[in-house]
């Protein structure tokens, strides 16, 4: 990998107060820091190349404070206002710079959880770990029998008093879909502490623990696109000290909602922006006469329908950004649900369109770069990967039940 020479230091966070200057600084920093051939160097290198690259990229982001800029000042962040986060995403998207995807849980889900429910000691220990040591976190919520119906999870954590008087929880069960679980240092675990609670949401607790705790075994899951981004995790008499409980016992369900709320905001804003850049790129290619298929009426018109849909999704995303600026918790706003549903369906439609447009060429298996984004030059992989947005984060079918009941007022 050729790393561009840095001939001056960059300090984008010193530009706060001047959005345009911040944008320029991020742009220039990206230009000076991200090697233009980064994608090529990790393409075909498999998971290790990806992880090594992400760790390097995270350290670079930390050098200028951008990875944790959205965190509160008390925890080493800059409380970067949302409009700055959006600008930062835009600049990343324009040059197709990678996001620190490997660190998504560390940077978003963990702080969302700890800011609301962690003790000062827990915040200090774990947030410092992310900031200073790049500790990687993953999430242990879903189970083979608890997907969209997460509250029916069956992993048990039983409270025990040890002979020395200390209190521990002994966890047993099986978890699945832990993103980047193979590389994670720490685990967020939802487990049932009260199997007799009247409501199934009521008896669940939230724990954190090191992934190398004895009795915890992880195994990668191979996906339809050949990647193994996820792990299944087996817990066999795993001993968790009581100080690793987040919040109170049996309050885990509400805490998990805080964790998951991190998924709704900026991650999808970034995705939608990047999709728009990709579609604008197609138009630029068409203008330059580089697209033979543009002369095909059917393909061109189908593309324009998708472009229209993307503009519409982008406008919903803008509405969501406005709502977050006005009310960071977004209350009962339906907009995040609308954004998730419409963006994910657009992604499925667009990747399907591209697949058909390519004809047989898309049937040739290609090397890929992990973490290159949802819209890459590997169109079959884009198509296969797109399901991740319609299935995860509440399957679209479940979200449509919720939409019809809570937003449209239809009876249960």
């Amino acid at each position: 990998m050729t790393v561009a020479a840095v001939d001056r230091s960059f300090a984008p966070l010193e530009k706060l107060g001047d959005l345009a200057a911040f944008r320029d600084e991020v742009h220039n920093w990206l230009k000076a820091t991200l090697p233009s051939d980064w994608l090529a160097t990790i393409t075909g290198g498999g998971e290790q190349a990806y992880v090594d690259f992400q760790r390097w990229w995270f350290r670079e982001l930390m050098k200028v404070g951008l990875a944790t800029a959205h965190w509160p000042k008390a925890w080493g962040g800059e409380e970067l206002p949302l409009e700055y986060q959006v600008v930062m995403n835009e600049e990343f998207g324009k040059v197709r710079a990678p996001r620190p995807l490997l660190y998504t849980v560390s940077l978003y889900h963990l702080p969302a959880t700890l800011f609301a429910h962690g003790t000062p000691e827990q915040r200090d220990r774990y947030l410092t770990g992310v900031r200073e040591r790049g500790e990687l976190w993953c999430q242990g919520f879903s189970e083979p029998g608890a997907g969209s119906d997460l509250a029916s999870l069956r992993t048990r954590a039983e409270r025990r008093v040890k002979p020395d008087g200390s209190i521990v929880y002994i966890a047993n069960g099986q978890k699945v879909w832990s993103s980047f679980g193979a590389h994670a240092d720490y685990y967020m675990l939802l487990a049932r502490t009260d199997p007799d609670a009247p409501k199934k949401q009521g008896g669940i607790s939230f724990f954190v623990l090191p992934m190398d705790t004895p009795g915890l075994i992880r195994r990668p899951i191979r996906q339809i696109n050949g990647d193994s981004e996820f792990c299944e995790v087996f817990l066999d008499d795993v001993e968790i000290p009581a100080e690793n409980l987040i919040g109170r016992e049996n309050d885990g369900w509400a805490i998990a909602q805080s964790t998951l709320s991190a998924e709704r905001g900026l991650i999808i804003v970034d995705q939608a922006q990047r999709m728009q850049f990709v579609l604008e790129g197609v138009l630029a290619d068409a203008r330059a006469g580089r697209l033979a298929w543009w002369r095909d009426d059917g393909l061109r018109r189908e593309f324009l329908r998708l472009y229209a849909q993307a503009m519409a999704v982008r406008s919903l995303v803008d509405r969501m950004i406005d709502e977050i600026v006005n009310d960071p918790h977004m209350g009962a706003s339906p907009t995040p649900t609308l954004v998730k549903l419409t963006y994910s369906e657009l992604l499925r439609r667009y990747t399907t369109f591209v697949l058909k447009r390519d004809g047989m060429a898309a049937q040739v298996a290609q090397a890929k770069a992990l973490g290159a984004g949802k819209l890459t030059s590997n169109h079959m992989d884009d198509y296969l990967s797109a399901y991740s947005w319609t299935i995860s984060g509440g399957s679209n079918e479940v979200l449509k039940n919720i939409l019809s009941e809570r937003i449209l007022g239809l009876p249960r």
Binding site: M311, V313, I407, P411
Partner: protein, 345 residues
């Protein structure tokens, strides 16, 4: 002027009037041949100044641009009011932008006072010979009572007054009875060239149909959802069945997208990027969404939705005509492609 009338006040004012004067019962009466309903609405358009909204202020109008007019179009679409304003407002914009002083003076005050209306004759074989126009336009919407035709003859646009020798207007029976349809034949009618802006014309028409479609789709979807809450079969409201829930959820999502794109397109009219392309795309999205919702509304209502007395078919028929008006989906998609790629190249 637009600042003086808050658009939400305009919306509320128009809606309140239409809920009474273009109620479901009245639109049905109009469908069944009561000519008083449409005559009454035209009177209201005059008295309340709706017809004046899109006419410039120095011609006795209110000079409202597309953002304000689209509020009116949306409310008219919501209520299915059988009153023609869109083509007249389009011609008013063309006159204001490219008409001679004499043309403006002759028509704009008459439009503003609802004493005259116009229709668009865009798809025919008009040719000009010695300042006279010849040709046939098979389907001119709102053409039966129009006083003026804006006629496309190749690259040129013509103003052709209806009340003269050489203009034959043959009324056609029309499925969507909230509109009229005419076959117009010009056989040596007097005409004047007007320097109309073809892009502005197409964009106004596209946003007008988009607004009408958003209004109609919103109304029929709300009626359908209400029906699902109250219609009981198998001992429960049919809206509790997931198969139906998902269908209306999909319609709601499609309508939210169509509305978002429409709002974006309206916003782009003033110093935005690609105003013409966005209008065309918003038009395709809104009209298709309206047709899809109105289509499924019949099925979701079941037997009652198949009856003449129910509102479903009124929306369905207007939606199906909207899809075809002033260029179909393919025409609009190709126009968007041209705007985005060829004109920007």
């Amino acid at each position: 002027m637009s600042e003086a009338i808050g658009f939400e006040d305009l919306r509320t004012g128009v809606r309140d009037v239409l809920e009474a004067e273009a109620s479901s019962e009245r639109v049905h009466r109009h469908y069944d041949g009561d000519v008083e309903v449409a005559a009454n609405l035209r009177r209201i358009a005059r008295e309340l100044g709706w017809a004046a909204l899109g006419v410039p202020e120095d011609h006795e109008g209110l000079g409202l641009g597309l953002p304000g007019l689209s509020v009116l179009y949306e409310e008219l679409g919501r209520s299915l009011a059988p009153v023609s304003l869109l083509p007249t407002m389009i011609v008013a914009e063309m006159l204001a932008g490219g008409g001679s002083d004499a043309q403006q003076a002759r028509w704009l005050p008459a439009f503003a006072s609802a004493d005259a209306t116009a229709a668009l004759a865009l798809d025919g074989d008009a040719r000009i010979d010695d300042h006279r126009v010849y040709g046939r336009f098979a389907f001119v919407v709102d053409g039966v009572d129009a006083d003026l035709f804006l006629v496309r003859a190749g690259e040129a646009f013509l103003l052709v007054p209806a009340d003269q020798q050489g203009v034959t207007i043959e009324s056609l029976p029309v499925v969507d009875r909230t509109r009229t349809l005419a076959e117009i034949t010009f056989s040596g009618a007097a005409c004047e060239i007007i320097a109309a802006d073809a892009d502005a014309l197409a964009t106004h028409a596209a946003l007008g149909i988009a607004a009408d479609s958003i209004g109609g789709a919103t109304a029929i979807l709300a009626k359908t959802i209400e029906y699902l809450k109250v219609r009981v079969q198998f001992g429960k409201p049919i809206g509790s069945f997931q198969a139906l829930k998902h269908r209306v959820a999909n319609h709601h999502l499609a309508l939210e997208l169509a509305r978002s794109l429409f709002v974006t397109a309206i916003g782009a009219q003033e110093n935005g990027a690609d105003p013409h392309a966005l209008a065309a795309l918003a038009r395709v999205t809104a009209a298709e969404t309206y047709a899809s919702i109105a289509d499924d509304a019949v099925q979701l209502h079941g037997g009652i939705g198949f009856t003449w007395e129910h509102d479903c078919h009124l929306y369905l028929k207007r939606a199906r005509m909207n899809e075809m008006l002033y260029g179909n989906a393919e025409v609009h998609l190709d126009r968007a492609a041209q705007q985005l790629v060829e004109q920007a190249a």
